[in-house]
Amino acid sequence: MSAEVVHHTVTGIDNRKFGMWVLIASECFLFGGLILNYLVNRDRGLVGPKAVDIFNIDITTLSTFDLLMSSVAMVLALHACQQHDIKKFRFWTTMVILGGIIFLGFQYFEFHHFVHAGLGLSTNVFGSSFYLLTGCHGLHVFVGVLWLTSMLVTSFVRGKDWFPSVQLEVAGLYWHFVDVVWILLFTVVYLFVYL
């Protein structure tokens, strides 16, 4: 977040933004591997509950909607930052963070419910793959929340003239990516059960 020297770049894209795009490319393969593993192991659980027994599609739809809305808030926060509107910048950033926290709350609730329904981390390979995949996504949301919270706090420390447009754009790229991954997970993990 510090003010690194902005070099002229060949592509015209800021180094930090470019770096985030490259990281996202790498993350695609990370989640690709995890999704593949989930698909292979989905029906291989020998004991314990299966996906169709325990998934609660209504609640997951709600948390999906929540994460989508936080992405909208992210767009608005970035717009406000670029317009140098400190109030809206702080408000919408807070909204993104809240959206992330609510999503994590949903996930905690879901995991808690599953464990009570008899599906622990090591009950069967379906469960292990499910927790690994959604847990990895949850960790990404958590990192995003931590990141944006740090920016919000910095905003209050640095005062009303601090508008980190590029930094927020990088964080936004990350946030949107994490959101898109969730749409994919929601489809593959939750909706495919009903196919």
Binding site: V5, N15, L34, N41, R44, F126, S128
Partner: protein
Amino acid sequence: MAKCLPTTGVISWITTVDHKRIGIMYGVTAFLFLLCGGIEALLMRTQLAIPNNTLVTAGTFNSLMTMHGTTMIFLFVMPLSAAFFNFLTPLMIGAPDVAFPRMNALSYWIFLFGGLLLNFSFAVRLAPDGGWFNYANLTGKVFSPSHAIDFWVLGIQILGLASLIAAINFLVTILNMRCKGMTLLKMPIFIWTTLVTQVLLILALPVITVALVMMTFDRSFGTGFFDPAGGGQVIMWQHFFWIFGHPEVYILILPAMGIVSEILPTFSRKPLFGYTVMVYSSCAIGFLGFAVWAHHMFTTGLGPWAQALFSAATMLIAVPTGVKIFNWISTLWGGQIRFTTAMLFAMSFIAMFTFGGLSGVMHSSPPIDSQHQDTYFVVAHFHYVLYGGAVMALFGGIFYWFPKVFGYYMHEGLGKAQFWLYMLGFNLTFFPMHFLGMQGMPRRVFTYSGDQGWSLWNLVATSGSYITALGGVVFVINIVYTLITKKNKAPADCWDGRTLEWSLSSPPPEYNFAVDPEVKHLDDWWHQKYTHDGRRITPRYQPDVDPATKHLPHPSFWPMIVAAGLTIIAIGFLVDGIGHYISVGGVVVTLLAVYGWVFEEA
């Protein structure tokens, strides 16, 4: 904090963010690990010199072969390539530094700590023993209950992170920070192979990360991803490992190809033959590298269709590789070849790499592979490619760029002695292994009996390995001799080179380019020295200016502290009882260091 840090002495090296210094540190560290890997190799060869030898136990042997492979790949060839990326990339593309100088330092420190953690396993007598491929389920908790495998899993996880950070850094640097006029097809060929290597790293490393996380979960949290008893499948690890592992092979060889493609033109006094095709073939090799992983698994019962498709894809890789080989020969053809040590290494690369590549073509056929898989024939094959190929080229690169890095020529006589000792020792060690493989000697065996017909060739191979070691000693003597006597000072353009780094003084100033370069041609520096009709003209060397007038990134402690924090997290997994407290402590250190980093002035 950053402003008051010294610019010389130990602290300056610890806090440096200068890509040239980081490159040197990568190189020196890689050679220290080469010493470890080399000693491991010698011990193995000594054990196998005669049948029924009892120098080391079965367990020690398994540790030696596991750590030899892991060390040579992750702690020697990859970091030594990284040393070249670090030192050369900004100089060759005319940039003041890499895109993220502190991230660059971070990746070095993570690599160093990861390597130390991995080798620390010897000190606590828990050296990993599951092979460099670490196949499940032998490496599960049931069959490997000690922490030995955890050392490997966590060590590779850490080293992977270092490579990933470096790869993102170099990719952005190459694409974003080229000097004026340097379009993609005017980049030096070494920069191209570097670029392809980074793409491979960025896409392949997350795959092994997933597999390593799953194995960590299996070993530490009781899951059964790779445990058939719980519905898991052992074959999944192999798929994950080789989807990473095969691109990894090209991650090792592509930088070497780039180095050779720089050395050959310089010492032939001719441009690289078919530059554009060389670029495309590098890209094709990188792309195909992702489509052939299952050829490491031909004997696992893939079924005929998978075997047929993966063998065809594997054979296809021979085409762009073959094009490269013939283009290198054409580069030599009609040139004025100077027999410098660097050139000898580069030319031997062509021969040795071709030889290894051709035995690789044999393995692309699953029926043949079913006889050669896991025998010494395969050992011979990949040593020809990775040692005769990659390592010989890297040594060529060292002799070629040493004057640029340190300002002094290495001793040519000692260099040639080393070269011939290497050629002799290497071929004596690995050529007979083809015979051993055809005679049915399996890999990874700690002993064999005298009635197998393998005794002679094993003895020959062992004697060769000692000759190679002698070559290594000559190399160390050469380095020490050169740096102590400082006899043969190198001018800026010491070899009549072709690329931008030769326009800088040797060693280059801290700020790299006093005047932002602008290029008009491929091999622009060459075109500044020679007119179209071959007349020599005086080029404009980069002037020396007062460093104070140049804005340089500030040195920082934080990269090292972040790396230390990450390593502490890993250590937590290796300690029973209070392990999770240590890991949490590591998380805290990492987070605090990240904040320190972010709020520090760059």
